[in-house]
């Protein structure tokens, strides 16, 4: 696939169970994800999350080949992977993982503070994001003062503020009421229509309908690609 953003070849991830015994969460994964794809990964607890950690380069214990755009991730050192991750990937978490002691504004500023932006650029980007997500009025509030849906909205804004090509979402509506969940999924669909590649891990059949591909994992194997 020429327009592939992600290519996985013979990727495996296992955890030792005892002497020469292993528990495989991913086995011989061969997968292409195109630019502007919206992929849903479904499967038993753990398998999808392992895939996300692998794609997000938080996990280094896998074997095989992983290409992100033109970069051969499997050849990169941890520091180079971290730099690539900062440049290309945004994360949305089921538990939002906003920092409780920081305001909405400050939470949005965190990813920028670890990248090469000047203070004025950071202010402008945060202001843009607050405006785009219509949360200007909430910029001085703390996460505990927001509803779950609003917190996840901030989580999505934080994930895309540094302009990643790839958005990885771990059960993004898992902690939300259905109406809030729909709002977040519609937002994902909108981002995808604007060109963002999205990979979500979900147990919700409904959430998969917002994407254009489903990958089913079982016992570590890809059993179904749509």
């Amino acid at each position: 696939m020429d327009d592939a953003l992600i290519r996985l070849r013979h990727v495996e991830r296992s955890y030792p169970l005892g002497r020469s015994q292993f528990f495989y969460v991913l086995r011989d994964i061969n997968l292409d994800i195109a630019k502007a794809d919206f992929v849903s990964i479904m499967g038993p607890s753990g398998a999808g999350k392992s895939t996300l950690h692998l794609l997000g380069m938080h996990d280094h214990g896998w074997i095989g080949e992983y290409f992100l755009d033109e970069a051969a991730v499997h050849h990169l050192k941890p520091k180079e992977r971290a730099a690539l991750r900062n440049e290309q990937i945004g994360f949305v978490f089921q538990q939002y993982h906003l920092l409780d002691d920081l305001t909405v504004y400050e939470n949005l500023d965190i990813p920028l503070s670890y990248r090469r932006y000047s203070k004025s650029e950071r202010s402008a980007l945060v202001a843009d994001m607050l405006d785009r997500f219509q949360i200007v009025g909430k910029k001085d509030l703390y996460p505990r003062q927001l509803s779950g849906g609003q917190q996840q909205l901030v989580g999505v804004a934080r994930a895309i503020i540094a302009g990643p090509k790839l958005l990885l979402a771990d059960e993004p509506t898992g902690n939300l009421h259905s109406s809030q969940g729909e709002e977040i999924m519609n937002l994902f669909k909108k981002l995808n229509s604007e060109g963002m590649t999205i990979v979500q891990v979900t147990h919700s059949e409904k959430n998969t309908t917002y994407g254009n591909r489903i990958i089913q994992l079982r016992d570590g194997w890809v059993v179904k690609k749509e």
Binding site: K49, H58, A82, F91, Q95, L99, D101, Y114, D170
Partner: protein, 145 residues
Amino acid sequence: MRTFDQVVSESVAPRRLSVVLLGIFAAIALVLAAVGTYGVISYFVIQRTHEIGVRMALGAQPRDVLVLVIGHALRLVAIGTLVGLILAMFSTRALSALLYNVGAFDLATFATVAVVLCAVALLASYVPALRATRADPMITLGHNG
């Protein structure tokens, strides 16, 4: 018959004992300060493990985590040193009768003590700070295999 040196030595023996004891207590105080700082910063790191993991997942490098943790330690040390110096300025008045060749507000002594305590505190905070840089985002972000 005793030599002159012996006479002098015996005459200052009680004071020498006081000085040695003071030195030992000062060394113990320094060790306690280091252990206390280590404990406080370790507790800070444990309390903020989640935050550190999230920050690392969002792009923080080990260097950024070191700055976060040691920066916090420095703030605490600065406050502690300032309060300590103010208290010391008052308490040295009580000791002024025992001082010889040193004033109650000897700047060099105060500065040396402050610098030594800051250095000890920094060293004591470095170990927990280094441990914080090894926070695993996979654990923080709820990986379950």
